[in-house]
């Protein structure tokens, strides 16, 4: 029996915009029906990875495989057949929905683009089904996007993304522009749909706390590269890379007693430029634990606790650094 192909495979993906090395060698695999969260701060290149997968931008090098097929070198026409396999939902639904199109037409557009012949009645029925699935009434189809709230618009984006029955959904910060209570309902919706339909998902976000509900695996990105990957449990309970540890320590928890007992980990403010990334480990300029070797030698991905981390202080036997033990005083000045 041959193993099932992964829903998504990235092999050494590179995306340079002129001199800007936005994505610099990212390898990642998402099995069918699984959710991987790609977490990083602004400028880490996480959105660019998503854009490469749907080929909104053409990768500089590397391979993108969707369902086992290399889509990196497909022509536009060949790509069209694969378009229905993968969909994307963006952060800002106001900007990603055409304001002049009725919601029904927005949702039906992937069907039109697929070239599939479908009667008007069937199309309307499918739009109604899809709207129902995301918790909207069928008559929303006859409204314009501006008549809807932010949360409703994001539901429309999700309906549009799912109407072609993709095997892979790229969700690029789908809840970041929404208020807390609305964010909760959209996260719940995505989790329900994912469980019911079983599509694989690359969930791109800057917010680690938002992925705890959804993600099976978490990949942490810093300045164009993955610094750590692992199961959700592994990343939340035993993060190996100093950057992952710092991210978890920096996100405040909504509990004043716990929050004030936590030891702050302060990194310097400056994310180095992707024009001229630091030598060796890219995180070393902000890492409180950096030492000589970090500047000269690029750390390899080391297997640790079922995941992988790229840090000289991580050993295959499970030895991992603890960023909280570092002396932060000079960062605070």
């Amino acid at each position: 029996m041959t193993p099932q192909p992964n829903a998504l495979e990235l092999e050494d993906l590179v995306m340079h915009f002129g001199p800007v090395r936005a994505v610099d060698g990212v390898s990642l695999a998402i099995p069918k029906g699984r959710v991987t969260a790609l977490v990083g701060e602004s400028g880490s290149g996480k959105s660019t990875v998503g854009r490469c997968v749907v080929r909104l931008v053409e990768p500089t090098a590397g391979v993108v495989r969707i369902g086992g097929t290399d889509v990196t070198h497909l022509s536009r026409r060949q790509l069209r057949r694969h378009r229905s396999e993968v969909s994307i939902v963006f952060q800002d639904p106001a900007g990603s929905l055409d304001p002049r199109m009725l919601v029904g037409d927005v949702v039906a557009e992937p069907l039109r683009l697929s070239g599939e012949r479908i009667s008007r009645r069937d199309r309307e029925a499918r739009v109604a089904t899809e709207l129902g699935r995301v918790g909207l009434r069928a008559e929303v189809a006859r409204r314009y996007p501006h008549e809807l709230s932010g949360g409703q618009r994001q539901r429309v984006s999700i309906a549009r993304a799912l109407i072609s029955e993709p095997t892979l959904l790229i969700a690029d910060e789908p809840t970041s522009a929404l208020d807390v209570s609305v964010q909760a309902s959209v996260l719940n919706l995505l989790a329900d749909l994912q469980r019911d339909i079983g599509f694989a998902c690359l969930f791109i976000t800057h917010d680690l706390s938002a992925v705890e509900y959804l993600a099976d695996e978490i990949a942490v990105m810093y300045l164009g590269q993955l610094v750590e990957t692992g199961s959700r449990e592994q990343i939340f309970t035993r993060p190996a890379h100093p950057y992952t540890q710092a991210l978890l320590a920096a996100a405040p928890v909504a509990d004043p007693v716990r929050q004030r007992q936590r030891q702050p980990v302060l990194l310097g403010d400056d994310l180095p430029s992707a024009l001229d990334p630091p030598s060796g480990c890219r995180f070393r300029t902000r890492c409180p634990l950096a030492f000589d070797r970090c500047a000269t030698e690029v750390p390899a991905q080391v297997e640790v606790g079922g995941g992988k981390a790229a840090c000289h202080l991580v050993q295959p036997d499970g030895t991992r650094p603890d960023v909280r033990t570092a002396d932060n005083s000079e960062v605070l000045s």
Partner: protein, 354 residues
């Protein structure tokens, strides 16, 4: 209806309030009609206190903050009172307000890039505040600017003082904004979503700077945010706003340990917190949206989204007062505007001690 204002709204240990807001109401006339943004908000800020104001978009947090030092456009109709150490600010002449702003009350906003002048070095921009308000000479202002930059944690401040805003990262720019805001030693700093546009690792540093300012200079800080994690991190007291009204007010630990208003409780359980719901559990949702009100009804404006609402909630507005929750009375400075406050959580070790 009545709004019960407890004396000792600001912790009496800290002395007379620096800022007293009483029955502040703000409405706007727009093309679509009147919009009531803030409804009879009362709040005291004690010296050296950090008060967090939390709520979702459209709850009136920012409008409240802007109205304190008269930053609202002329289309705003403002009533009520804002007193800065006894001096009334509502309806005061612009020339007086101009002296108050910067010197007595300073602001920082969410987006530091649009608040900084791109063609002036940060040293010139900070220096300008000092030259205007403190009548300092240019060299003296520059020297003070360097000191301020190191106060807010900018490394090699003597070099950074000659940088232009675009040469700095987002976190550095926000630090510059804070340096500029505290240049004249204001009594009150209003920080409106100061870390919302920043990454979490940078946010932690900015919150640390705010705490430092309070500890070192005794600055009173009103921090406005939608993020309960930020509140949990820095605030001493919390004010929860909903649809223009204060719906709950408490010491930070009391609020999180036992939210009384259903909106507060909803916000708390809708916020993802690492380790809190691990894996299978769902986030709690608050159905519906924050209403846009043309006038303030004599009813609880959260009733339509509230699981506990009944006819009383729809017929009369609950006053902001100390409420009992079936036996246990909340702390005396824990107020809520709710007819049916949340029952006390079962596990409260401190309160089982009879």
């Amino acid at each position: 209806m009545t709004t019960v204002e407890s004396p000792g709204a600001a912790s009496s240990v800290l002395g007379a309030p620096v800022l007293e807001i009483r029955d502040l109401s703000v409405s706007f006339t727009t093309e679509g009609g009147t919009v009531s943004a803030v409804d009879r908000v009362s709040l005291d800020l004690a010296p050296g206190e950090i008060v967090g104001m939390v709520g979702e978009s459209g709850c009136g947090k920012s409008v409240t903050a802007m109205s304190i030092a008269g930053l609202l456009p002329s289309s705003a109709r403002i009533s009520g009172s804002v007193r800065l150490r006894g001096t009334e600010l509502v309806g005061t002449r612009e020339s007086v307000l101009r002296r108050v702003r910067g010197k007595e009350i300073a602001y920082i906003f969410q987006e530091p890039m649009t608040s900084l002048n791109p063609v002036l070095t940060v040293g010139r921009q900070i220096g300008e505040v000092l030259q205007v308000h403190e009548r300092m000479s240019r060299p003296a202002a520059r020297a003070r600017a360097v000191e301020l930059l190191s106060l807010v944690g900018i490394p090699s401040a003597s070099k950074r003082v000659d940088n232009y805003p675009h040469q700095l990262s987002g976190g550095m720019r926000q630090r510059v904004m804070i340096a500029m805001a505290v240049a004249c030693g204001p009594k009150v700093l209003v920080a409106d979503e100061p870390t919302t546009a920043l990454d979490v690792t940078v946010q932690a540093g900015i919150l640390q700077v705010l705490r430092d300012l309070r500890d070192r200079l005794g600055t009173t800080i009103l921090i406005i945010t939608h993020d309960l994690g930020v509140i949990a991190d820095v605030a001493d007291r919390v004010v929860v706003m909903y649809a223009g009204r204060v719906v709950e007010r408490a010491q930070v630990t009391d609020l999180f340990a036992h939210p009384l208003h259903r909106y507060t409780a909803g916000l708390l359980s809708a916020s993802p917190t690492p380790g809190k719901h691990a894996g299978t559990a769902r986030l709690q949702e608050i159905p519906g949206l924050v209403p846009v009100l043309s006038s303030q009804p004599d009813a609880c404006t959260f009733a339509d989204r509230c699981p506990a609402a009944d006819s009383q909630c729809r017929e009369s507005a609950p006053p902001l007062e100390v409420v009992g929750t079936g036996g246990a009375l909340a702390a005396k400075d824990h107020l809520a505007a709710c007819w049916h406050p949340c029952p006390a959580p079962r596990t409260q070790p401190q309160e089982t001690d009879l």
